[in-house]
Symmetry: C2
Subunit: 313 residues, 2 copies
C-alpha cells in the first residue's frame, strides 16, 4: 500500500542520564517533532515548509536533517518517486532534548509509512543517523530512543550496538528548559581530554549501578547512580544557568535527583511517582522566574514506543 | 548455641571480569580456603597452624588476614573468649584468585559459626575487609563474592555499595593458573594514571553492556563485553605469560573469550555451556606445557552461595 501523504511524530529524548554520558538515553512522552511527507513524482526530498523554528532551520535539502534522513530512506528502498516535507518543530533547537534526532526520526518514519512500511522500524536507524550527523555528529544516543522508544544503551552506530533496557514502572520526569541555548559543540569543548583512572573506575561503577537499578526497577537507586557523575557535570555546570539551585529546589520539592539532559541547558528531575510532579515543576519554574529567565517546564514519563505514524492517506 | 570448634570454607573469586575493573567479581565452585577455629578461654585470635602455604604466610596474628578477620568478628560480637585458628590454604598466593579474601572470609564465617551465628552473613563484610586490607588494600571486589556468592557489583566498602547480580544459567569458566606470581602491587603499578575521555566512554559502555547481558542471561553478549576492555589488559598483558596465545587457544577450543582473573596471572576463559570445557582446559594446559611452564587448570562455574560452614561441634 502506497499513500499520497504520511505523517509521523518522534519524541524528545534525554541523553546521558547523568553518568551515562554518550551511551544512555530515553524517549519522553508528549513533546516532539512532527513530519508530514507528500508523494512527489520527482525523485528526492525537498522541504516545503518549516513551522515553529523561528526561521532558523535551513530549507536546503542537503543541510536539513529531515530531508537528509528522508533521502536516505528513499535511497534505501530504491524509490523512484520523491517526497515534499512539512516539518513541524515541537522542540526548541539547542535545548538538550534531541531536537535534530526527533526531526530525523520523524522524517524517516514518515517516508517509510508513505511507501507502505517496506522497512522495519529498526532498519531506519542508519537513515536517521545520516540526518542526525548533519548537525550533531554520527551518534545514536538521541536517535536510538527517539526511534525505538524506552531507555536505550547505545555503544556504537550499528543495530547490534543498541540495547533496549526495561523501563521502571514508577519512573517520572520533570524537564525544565530555560530560555538560553547551549550548542552541543560548546558543551563538548568544556569536557576534559583525560580523566584519572580512579575517576574512570568511579564512572564505570556508577554506570553499572545505573543499569542494575534499571533492571531491578529501583528508581531510588537509579537516581542515585544517575547523579553520581564526577566527570561530565563538573565540566559543564558553568554552561547551565542555575543548575545547582534548580537541583536543590527540585529535591526539596520531592525529586530524587536532577541531571543535565543531553548537552543542556534542559535539566531533568527524576521522581519515583507522579505525586510530587506538580510541586517539582513549580519549584523549577520558580527558580528561573526569580532570576527573570523564561523557561518551559514539562511533566513527563518515558515514551515506551518511541516514534509513531500519525496518519497515512 | 556455642560450639567448641567450627570450620568454614570460602571460595576462590575472579575479580574484574575483564572490563569491570575494581567493581565486578564472582565466586567460583570448587577451589577455596578452609579455616577451622577452636574456642580458647583467652580473648583474641591466634594462629595454631597453616597448611598448604609452603611456609609463606605469617603466624603473627596482627599480620595474618585470617586472624585479623577473626579478631574483628570477636570484637564485633563482644566475645570474652578467643579462638585458635587452623588455616588450610587451598588457593595459591598472588595468583589472582582472591586468596587473601578467601582466608579472611572463611575465618570470619567460622568464628561467627563457632558462636552460634550471632551475625547475619552480610554483617561479616566489615570484618572480612579488615582482613583483606592487611595484604590487598581495603577493597571488597574479592571479599564480596567470596562472602555472598554469585556475581557481585562492588562500588564501595559499605553493604549498600554491594549488589548481587543474577547468574546466567549456562555460564561456565575454565581457569588456568600458570606457576608464576604477580603481586597486586606490581599489577597496579603498570596501570596508567589517566585515560582519555573517549576511552572512559568506551569502558562505561562496555560495563553497561556487561551488566545488561548478565541480567538477560546472554553469555555470548556477556563475554563480548568482558573482553572489550581497552584500558586494564593493555597495561597488564606484559605481566601475564602467554596471555594472547592462551586466549587464542581457548577460543579455538570453544571458549567465547578469556580475561585476566583479578591481578593475574590466572586467566579465566568464558564458556556458554559445559560442552567445550574439557577441550578448552586441555588447550590452555597445552599452551603452558609447550612453554615448559607448570600450570593448574580448573573447570568451574559460579558458586552461587559463596562461603559456607562445613562443621560445628
Amino acid at each position: 500500500m502506497v499513500f499520497a501523504i504520511a505523517e509521523a511524530f518522534a519524541p524528545a529524548t534525554v541523553a546521558n542520564l547523568g553518568v551515562g554520558f554518550d551511551i544512555l538515553g530515553l524517549a519522553v512522552e508528549g513533546a516532539g517533532d512532527t513530519v508530514l511527507v507528500e508523494k512527489r513524482s520527482e525523485p528526492g526530498a525537498v522541504i516545503l515548509s518549516i513551522e515553529g523554528d523561528e526561521g532558523r532551520i535551513p530549507y536546503d535539502a542537503d543541510r536539513n536533517v529531515a530531508s537528509i534522513a528522508a533521502n536516505a530512506v528513499l535511497k534505501q528502498i530504491q524509490a523512484e518517486e520523491g517526497v515534499g516535507i512539512i516539518l513541524k518543530k515541537g522542540l526548541p533547537i539547542g535545548s538538550g532534548l534531541g531536537s535534530s534526532a526527533a526531526s530525523s526520526v520523524a522524517a524517516a518514519v514518515a517516508v517509510n509509512a508513505l511507501f507502505g512500511e517496506p522497512l522495519k522500524r529498526h532498519e531506519l536507524l542508519g537513515a536517521c543517523l545520516e540526518g542526525e550527523a548533519a548537525v550533531s555528529g554520527y551518534h545514536a544516543d538521541n536517535v536510538a530512543p527517539a526511534l525505538l522508544g524506552g531507555i536505550t544503551l547505545t555503544t556504537g552506530t550499528g543495530l547490534s550496538d543498541i540495547q533496549r533496557l526495561p523501563v521502571p514502572d514508577t519512573l517520572r520526569l520533570v524537564l525544565v528548559s530555560p530560555a538560553v541555548e547551549v550548542s552541543t559543540a560548546a558543551a563538548r569543548r568544556v569536557l576534559p581530554a583525560d580523566v584519572s583512572l580512579k575517576l574512570m573506575v568511579h564512572q564505570t561503577g556508577a554506570v553499572a549501578r545505573l543499569v542494575d537499578a534499571i533492571y531491578r526497577g529501583d528508581v531510588v537507586a537509579m537516581a542515585r547512580a544517575m547523579g553520581d557523575d564526577h566527570v561530565i557535570e563538573a565540566a559543564r555546570a558553568k554552561l547551565m544557568p542555575y543548575l545547582h539551585e534548580a537541583r536543590e529546589a527540585a529535591i526539596q520539592a520531592g525529586a530524587l535527583t536532577l541531571v543535565i539532559s543531553g548537552a543542556g541547558p534542559t535539566l531533568c528531575a527524576v521522581l519515583n511517582s507522579s505525586d510530587a510532579e506538580t510541586s517539582v515543576a513549580q519549584a523549577l519554574e520558580d527558580v528561573y522566574t526569580q532570576h527573570k529567565m523564561a523557561c518551559v517546564v514539562r511533566k513527563t514519563g518515558v515514551a515506551v514506543d518511541g516514534a509513531r505514524v500519525l496518519q497515512t492517506n
